[in-house]
Amino acid sequence: MTDIKVDTLRKEFSSDAGKIVAVDDVSFTVDDGEFVCIVGPSGCGKTTLLRCIAGLERPTSGQIKLGTEEVTDVPPQNRNLAFVFQDITLYPHMKVWENISYPLKLDGIGPDDRYEKAQEVADTIQIGELLDKYPGELSGGQQQRVAIGRSIIRSPRAYLLDEPMSDLDAKLKKEMRVELQRIQQQVGGTMVYVTHDQEEAMTLSDRMLVMDDGNIQQFGSPQKVYHEPNNLFVARFIGSPEINLLAASPVSDTGETVSVEDTDWTVDTGIQASSVPGRVTLGFRPRHTTVARTTNPDGLGGEVALVESVGDENILYVDTKVGEVRVVVDIEEYPVSEGDSVEIGVERSYLFDRDTGDTIAKSTEHQPDREDTVET
């Protein structure tokens, strides 16, 4: 196992419309044994980045190192990296055991030894009984397990996974996530996992790398990325339901109080910033938002347009003068139904520079007095 160092990596594609920069001088290090998810919207360059690491794409410039070895110009088959593809790449004319042990065949290992090794691996990933079947006879989940089995059979230096679960249904996805984590713990190993699903990234990774437009927007633990987004993009992309964002301007220099544009509402953010620009965006996550039923909301408020029940929680979609505000509340604590008129309270918030998108500041802690304010 090894760490992966990526240094000012750049990948350009030429197209009819001209040059497209898929990866824009990106640098980061994945530590040995770490599980890193690269996450971002489609077209952000995450898959290209992964394929560069694998060697399937040749970077325009920059460096990739596996441990101390610089591999930028090493062909993919000589990098000893395992790659699991989004489209499951099992060979239909080979049985499961042959598929799993294919890398060993390439090493010139005989069929008996291969079968034995495949059995071992198949047991690890709990498909031991499927060895003599053909891929065509397996379900999607089983097929992906076989693909994973093939990737772990040769103890590669690192595992690269390109949206391996995007074709599975939600339930299977959850199972496979657990399975993958179990496997990773068992085999240990550096994993780089590309996904567009932020929830998957949040649950799986030790650290996550958020990409947009060929650039790294943030690289950190899921908690850090969720709670301390570097910018407006990360704040929006991470977290579900999506963060509420309202155009605002500071009332105080420190941003402690801001007024929501086009309204007479003010929100106390509790933020103490050294300097705040004139045009900001106020952000607050639906989970850090409260509601109170009132016929005549004072300040931020509106009518509940839709209530979406998710287990113990309700997601409320509130129509306000400045657009939809999403709120996640405990069903029992805040029994609200559609058509109710509510007042909205903000527990924790962020201020972003509306022009650059950078985070200016965030409220450092939960402020109980805010609730009172909201509720009155």
Partner: protein, 320 residues
Amino acid sequence: MSTVSDGVRAVVPTRWQRKTNGVLASVFERDKTLLALCLTPALALFILIALLPMVWAFNLSLYEVSTLSPIWEWTGPGRLVDIVTSSGFQIAFGRSLVFGFGSVAFQLIAGVGLALLVNKEFKGAVLARALALLPYLVPAVVIGMVGQFMLNAQYGIINLLLLRVGVLDNPVAFLGLPETAMVTVMIVGSWKFAVFVTLLTLARLQSIPEHFYEGATMCGANAYQKFRDITLPRIKNVILIAALLRTLWMFNKFDIIYIMTRGGPGESTTTIPLLAYEIAFNQYNLGEAAGIAALMFVFLAAWSVLYFRVAEPEQEVRVA
């Protein structure tokens, strides 16, 4: 419903309707009747165009028949033995083996190679594909004549090029020398049919997803291993079927050889079909020619059976 169908119903007596229903029901309910009904047309065609001529040829081979005379004289099945033991037949049979298998080997190698080449993405790939398939539309007569023209020692372009490049010092009559005639006819005859293999192979190649190759690359496969483990299994059956069909066709190949060499120089390209032709239309011995044709049929039938037993080309590849 419509006035038309009402009108028709009024005209057709119900008795008739009941009767047709009865007949149809009895036909469709009895499997054997239905089976016979479905198979008879194909079977009849087969008997008429394949079986009867064969039987006719077998029968003919038992007689002494001049090509130009309607009188048949019985000679009996010993004729077939005479043919098999004659050195003329045996040598021609050997030439047929060389021509048949040599041509097919060439066709498979060139055909698959061409398919692999044009399958790659490059500028003008579509044009190259279209061009590669073009020869399949050219009749054998044209290919034979153009080939003969191009290979001519005096004014042929091939000699001209080889002389210019310096491969040859003197023009070579490729079709006139016993050492080169067979190979030359094989190549000219196969060139067109290599494209048949290309056609079949290309269709298969196009259905192999690119990520199969990337997957193998990541497993550590080199170009040869990728061909062996991914490409070949996918096109294997196509190749086997093509090999069978082509062997049968090439064994029976008459036109291209006849046009280009008439079996010559000397007899160096006189394969079985040319021998049969020569005996029928130059020696006017139709009975013996029919015997050769019949023996050829027996050989090809045996070859097909053997081939299907050994190669199992009908075993379809499992596809996910």
